[in-house]
């Protein structure tokens, strides 16, 4: 099918949807200012960050068939690495013999590496099993890290850790919301390009094969464990980078970054947008976070103040309906049959 659309080279519905989405996100700060809603820029920075975490989950969930329910762990670890390094830089102290830093290049690279390392350990253990075991185990290990950070009193424990400001990226002023938005935008686009190439590469074909029929892949001679673990680590690294960006966005990290509901939210974003599509999770992040932002206001304005705080009361059943009746996700609805990769 991919061969086919490639050969045609014509503008398909999918490319049209993608182009439209790209332009919309690229022009968003301008649109926000025209609408006189400048806070939307910061809100959408969050959307892009969540999208990145969701795309990284889609890589293993949608393409590798690994139902990881602990993806927030890597997001949170990435965020904490940035927070902890900034904390030590502010205090002038060291951690494990290393000085703290506010330099984005160092701090974010560390976040990616540490998240990847954590993913390697959790993945190596969890991938010894599959199915329901895998779901429960990834959830449990994420919960373990949650409790670990809760118990780390030097880094604020339950209350989390404030940062003095955003990291320093080659002297660019990241405290400006517009600048920060475009940083997130570039990071997400780069990550999408990377994952797009990845899922179509030889490596990507192997993990997609594993999702469809692992036994067959083994009989063809692929050591599937190694390939799945590698994908798991790459996804962990991507979530770690998203976490690093998130810490910079809020200038704050707390155990909530690793809470299991965060893992649930990331998974919902993937499903809502369309699993196994890479672009779907971006759509999912936009819709999910906009619902979170505006559903309470909508309830308020139609006189249902009672539901304002309890928007999830409605969202729960919506999620169930999506799962039962709309498995293609929003991107599938928008882009049609070619949305999903085989």
């Amino acid at each position: 099918m991919a061969d086919h659309s490639h050969r045609m080279g014509a503008i398909t519905r999918k490319t049209a949807v993608l182009a439209f989405g790209f332009v919309l996100l690229a022009a968003l700060p301008g649109i926000a200012h025209l609408m006189d809603e400048p806070f939307l820029v910061s809100t959408f920075s969050r959307v892009l960050i969540y999208a990145m975490a969701a795309v990284s989950l889609d890589l293993i969930l949608g393409y590798g068939g690994m139902v990881s329910f602990g993806h927030a762990a890597f997001f949170g670890v990435g965020a904490y690495v940035v927070g902890i390094l900034a904390h030590h830089a502010a205090e002038g102290t060291t951690v494990l013999g290393l000085a703290g830093t506010n330099l984005a290049v160092v701090s974010w690279a560390a976040a990616v590496l540490v998240s990847a390392g954590v993913a390697a350990v959790i993945g190596a253990l969890s991938l010894r099993t599959d199915g329901v075991h895998f779901i429960m185990i990834t959830l449990a290990f994420a919960q373990m890290l949650f409790f670990l950070f809760v118990s780390l009193e030097p880094y604020g424990g339950d209350d989390g850790l404030m940062m003095m400001g955003r990291n320093d990226l080659f002297g660019i002023d990241l405290s400006d919301d517009m600048t920060f938005y475009y940083l997130c935008f570039i990071a997400l686009m780069a990550f999408l390009l990377l994952t797009r190439r990845l899922v179509d590469s030889r490596f990507g074909m192997v993990i997609r094969g594993c999702k469809q029929n692992e036994r067959r892949m083994r009989a063809l001679g692929f050591p599937v464990y190694r390939y799945k673990l590698t994908a798991f680590v790459i996804a962990g690294a991507g979530a770690g980078l998203a976490g690093a960006l998130s810490a910079n966005h809020t200038e704050f990290v707390s155990p909530d970054f690793l809470h299991w509901t965060m893992s649930g939210d990331i998974m919902i974003i993937v499903i809502l947008g369309g699993i196994g599509t890479l672009y779907g999770p971006v759509v999912g992040a936009v819709v999910f976070l906009m619902l979170e932002e505006f559903l309470p206001l909508a309830f308020d304005s139609v006189g249902l103040e009672g539901l304002k705080e309890h928007w999830r009361f409605l969202f729960g059943p919506i999620l169930i309906l999506v799962v039962l009746f709309a498995r293609r996700g929003l991107f599938g609805l928008l882009a049609g049959r070619e949305a999903r990769d085989g």
């Binding site: 139902v67 329901v132 185990i137 409790f147 499903i271 999830r312 169930i320 039962l324």
Partner: protein
């Protein structure tokens, strides 16, 4: 030594709780192949029902007895509306849909009772202590909990050893076709079984009321612990759930009680406290990791 025995009892008591929650979860998975995240919600509903009825009537026993049919009814209702559509779906769908149920129930409870915790007191007759081990006055209520847990384990053992349903469970039959061999309406049977599993969760929640605060979200923590129990014990195995629950209960309680002290003999006090707290909260997960390396399918892997 006395302190050690006391903590051992505390560990057993936590283990009993976990067994009650994990048993329902693993039964439902074993028979219907369903992973039900909303099992923790049933635990929460049991606690709220018990607390409310107890506060109305002034009788803990009435509260406890009321909680059981209420959770069973809620359990059967969600089976009827949502779960039966999920039996043939993959685990991802089951996880997501039951996650949706959690969101729904958490907000529903918050809308009815609010976010601040409810409190339940232990009834007077159970409010004393008893020396089951000479030299250790131990709260009667906690002894009762351990007793209830043993009773439930025996009932379950009886059901599994002596009934036709139990026979099918032992045979590891997860297929609906095989349950059809019973010659009864499977749909009704599944609804009833689901209610049966829900009762355990409700019972655990109702009994937890006086010991922990009754509040929104209380079910999720215990749910994840129950997952650890099931992973250790082997999914679908009730015996595994019992052994796993007691292991997790004891390791967690002992870890919290003694690890910091133990570390103080080796490290400076401040560091020992920090590391001790971190390590003891991770202890059961490390236990799970060890079991995984040793036996990836758990201690008592169920067939099929």
């Amino acid at each position: 030594m006395l302190l050690f025995l006391e903590q051992l009892l505390n560990g057993l008591q936590l283990g009993v709780f976990l067994f009650l929650v994990a048993a329902g979860l693993t039964l439902i998975f074993g028979i219907m192949g369903l992973i039900n995240l909303a099992h923790g919600s049933l635990y929460m509903i049991g606690a709220f029902a018990a607390a409310t009825v107890t506060n109305w009537t002034g009788s803990f026993l009435v509260g406890l007895l009321a909680a059981l049919p209420i959770t069973a009814a809620v359990g059967m209702a969600i089976e009827f509306v949502v779960m039966r559509r999920l039996y043939d779906r993959d685990h991802l769908d089951q996880v997501l849909a039951t996650f949706g149920l959690i969101l729904f129930f958490n907000e529903l409870i918050a809308m009815i009772w609010g976010r601040p915790p409810l409190f339940m007191t232990v009834p007077d007759i159970l409010n004393g202590t008893v020396e089951i081990i000479p030299g250790i006055p131990y709260p009667i209520y906690r002894v009762v909990i351990i007793g209830v847990g043993v009773l439930v384990a025996l009932v379950l053992y009886g059901v599994i050893a002596r009934t036709r349903v139990g026979m099918l469970i032992r045979a590891g039959s997860t297929h609906r076709e095989m349950v059809g061999a019973l010659g009864v309406n499977i749909r009704v049977l599944y609804t009833l079984l689901f209610g049966f599993g829900a009762i355990f969760a409700g019972l655990a929640g109702a009994m937890a009321g006086p010991l922990m605060s009754v509040q929104v979200g209380m079910g999720e923590g215990i749910l994840i612990l129950a997952f650890v129990v099931i992973v250790i014990g082997g999914i679908g195995s009730v015996r595994g759930a019992l052994v796993g629950a007691l292991l997790v209960g004891v390791v967690d309680t002992m870890g919290r009680a003694f690890l910091p002290t133990l570390l103080k003999t080796m490290l400076p006090p401040a560091e020992a406290d920090g590391i001790g707290a971190g390590l003891s909260s991770m202890a059961i997960y490390l236990l799970m990791a060890v079991v995984l390396v040793w036996k990836p399918r758990g201690l008592f892997p169920a067939h099929g």
